[in-house]
């Protein structure tokens, strides 16, 4: 039995350099299998939208080829590609009503009786009542659903989504994420979704490619990216990571023993993406929620074999489900620790001396030659 692969998207050596010499996308190989929900994640200007536009045919690649299934579409204009796009600002036709917006693609392909299909599609996105309204009479969320309906009605091989939820408020965005995920499962079309929202990418996609400065930093399932980041950018961009500079000591078998400050940290060799030679440097990473906090007076109760650091609580913020601590440690300022509010220890207040400890299995190692702050979202970026 052969599986249908007509919805595969295969990018080979694709790149884009603009006339002004700016390279938005460096040569890139990427395969999106038929029927998957694939997210391109990155900050603005990382080349994710350019990549998407090259798949749509709205941007001509400088090098490389685009294949849909077995068909080379690199030279096809957008109107000949079996691909549809949901644009960032929806780009609904302001002079046509909702019905005609949705029917646009069908009519262009010479289909005469569109009424039934359009009505069904409007039902699917729950806009049956609005068929005769103009786009500007609808709310942002409704316009977004029209944009999805207008693309999906053509049964494209691949649906491209360019930050489709960016203009919606948080609550509506969460709702639409689930809605899009449901539609994708229902229609089984390959979705390629561009977003800068890491939470959105992780909740919706099967596979996420994290892009930075025109390159794919890492590609994998959301949980894989989160648990095993291979670059500081991915470690910082997806959630929060504590990165501690450490010196490689003597290794024993499957584990590396590292020296950080005065203490020793264990790192499984398999979880270290950097070449670790004795005496060299690596960055030790640990996610804030993997760390447990124990007051320094109870340090004796911590089981053997766990990685430990000492420090002092600099700040604690209670946010209901958990408490987020900022801890100053001799090896690193401002370590983040998230503790679930199950049994709260009243002594863990700012100023208290504490021991941070975690399982070595949750530790990851990164190449120390990278920028330790790459991918950290700064306030300015947030505002932009």
């Amino acid at each position: 039995m052969t599986t249908d692969n007509s919805g595969d998207v295969r990018l080979s050596g694709i790149s884009k350099t603009y006339d002004n010499g700016f390279t938005a996308v460096h040569p890139l190989d990427l395969t999106v299998p038929q029927g998957s929900f694939f997210a391109l994640l990155g900050a603005s200007g990382c080349g994710k939208t350019t990549t998407l536009r090259m798949i749509a045919g709205l941007e001509e690649p400088s090098t490389g080829t685009v294949h849909l299934g077995d068909q080379d579409v690199t030279l096809l204009p957008p109107y000949k590609r079996p691909v549809n796009t949901v644009f960032q600002s929806y780009a609904l036709f302001p002079h046509l009503d909702i019905f005609e917006n949705v029917a646009f693609g069908l009519r262009r392909r010479g289909i005469k009786s569109v009424k039934k299909q359009v009505e069904e599609m409007l039902e699917l996105v729950q806009l049956g009542e609005q068929a005769r309204k103009k786009p500007h009479q609808l709310s942002g969320g409704q316009q977004q659903r029209v944009a999805v309906a207008r693309a999906l009605i053509n049964h494209p091989k691949v649906l491209l989504l360019d930050e489709p939820l960016g203009a919606l408020d948080l609550k509506l965005r969460r709702q639409m994420q689930l809605e899009l995920k449901r539609i994708q499962t229902e229609v089984g079309i390959t979705f390629v979704h561009v977003t800068h929202d890491q939470e959105e990418a992780m909740t919706m996609a099967d596979t996420v490619a994290v892009m930075n400065a025109g390159r794919v930093e890492q590609l994998g399932a959301p949980s894989d990216l989160y648990e095993n980041p291979r670059t500081t950018f991915v470690a910082n961009f997806l959630g929060t990571s504590n990165l501690i500079e450490a010196e490689v000591g003597t290794g024993n078998g499957d584990d590396l023993v590292l020296k950080a400050g005065g203490g020793k940290l264990i790192l499984p060799r398999a979880r270290c993406s950097a070449p670790a030679t004795a005496g060299g440097k690596v960055l030790v990473g640990i996610r804030p929620e993997k760390i447990a906090l124990t007051h320094a007076d109870d340090a004796g109760t911590i089981p053997e074999g766990r990685n430990r650091l000492t420090g002092r609580i600099a700040d604690a913020s209670f946010i209901g489900v958990s408490t987020q601590y900022v801890i100053d440690s001799p090896v690193c300022d401002e370590l983040a620790v998230y503790v679930q509010n199950v049994e709260r220890d009243g002594r863990l207040v700012p100023g208290a001396e504490v021991v941070l400890h975690w399982s070595p299995a949750h530790t990851f190692g990164l190449d120390a030659t990278q920028d330790i702050d790459a991918g950290v979202e700064t306030v300015e970026e947030e505002a932009a």
Partner: protein, 309 residues
């Protein structure tokens, strides 16, 4: 009933605002309107009333004119000068169509393709305004001169045979024919077509073109189904700005035409300045205005641009 949970009525906050010393600020819009309103009254409303009264006067230049409510002047003027009215409408319509055909591609180019040349081209479009209307029209006399290269070229290409056959030119001449007048009108009013077209094309979101292409529309279909419909406000205002002044124009017909191409503007001018028959000139002006208003109203209704913006 949970009246207790209702928010207090906003009256409490609205009250002090009314009494605030800044209440005078509500008059500001009227103060701002005043200069324009005065201008309109002095230079539009009063002359109109004066002309209206002139149009129903009788008398002669020697004895003076008196208001006698002689409405027959309107009917007499219409009966005598309807061919010039008809000619004005035809010439203006031809010039408007030509302006649209010439102006649309140029406006499209400036809006979407000109890139960094955009401002330069815009300046070139407006540049003719820096010289006098009369001089520019007289220049066409030279361009279309009987022995000039244009007429020579048209002649050897047998274009003039064709235009003579449909009555636009006569013999080997272009000057003093309807074609010359329509050319002059087209040339003089072209910028009034290009500017509104450019404005409405430039406002079209480029992503709509991409969206149309993404939805299987060929570039030509995208133009027919998206670009052109969205530029309708520009088409309507451009055609109006061309047609209305062209219908009332007399300079082009005077300088480039002959006695056979007289437009209603020429008749009014002659009545007013040479024959000094003020009532007929005033009545003709009002008939022209009424006719244009009627045509414009029908046109706007038909093109349905009200719900485009």
């Amino acid at each position: 009933m949970s009246t207790l949970q209702e928010a207090p009525p906003p009256l409490a906050t609205a009250e002090p605002a009314k009494k605030s010393p800044r209440g005078r600020g509500r008059l500001t819009p009227y103060w701002l309107l005043l200069p324009g309103l005065l201008w309109l009254v002095v230079f539009f409303a009063l002359p109109m009333i004066y002309q209206a009264s002139t149009s129903v006067q009788t008398g002669s230049l020697e004895d003076g004119y008196k208001v006698t409510w002689h409405f027959a002047t309107y009917w007499d003027a219409l009966v005598e000068y309807w061919p010039q009215f008809l000619r004005s409408v035809l010439y203006a319509a031809a010039a408007t169509v030509l302006c649209l055909l010439l102006g649309y591609p140029l406006a499209y180019l400036i809006a979407f393709r000109a890139g960094r040349w955009r401002n330069l081209i815009m300046v070139l479009v407006i540049a003719p305004f820096f010289t006098s209307f009369l001089i520019r029209t007289l220049a066409w006399k030279t361009i279309l001169a009987d022995s000039g290269p244009v007429v020579h070229a048209l002649n050897s290409l047998h274009v003039l045979d064709l235009t003579s056959w449909i009555g636009w030119t006569s013999g080997d001449r272009v000057l003093a024919t309807p074609l010359a007048v329509v050319c002059g009108l087209t040339y003089n009013f072209l910028p009034f077509m290009i500017l509104p077209l450019y404005t409405s094309l430039e406002r079209i979101d480029g992503r709509l073109h991409e969206a149309a292409g993404d939805l299987y529309a060929k570039p030509s279909t995208t133009f027919r189904k998206v670009t052109f419909p969205l530029s309708m406000p520009g088409v309507v205002s451009g055609t109006l700005l061309t047609f209305i002044p062209a219908a009332g124009d007399y300079v082009n017909a005077e300088l480039l035409g002959s006695t056979d191409t007289r437009m209603i503007g020429n008749v009014i001018q002659t009545q007013f300045l040479r024959i000094l028959d003020y009532p007929t000139a005033a009545a003709l002006s009002f008939i022209l205005m009424a006719a244009i208003l009627l045509m414009v109203t029908v046109y706007i209704r038909r093109s349905g641009t009200e719900d485009l913006v």
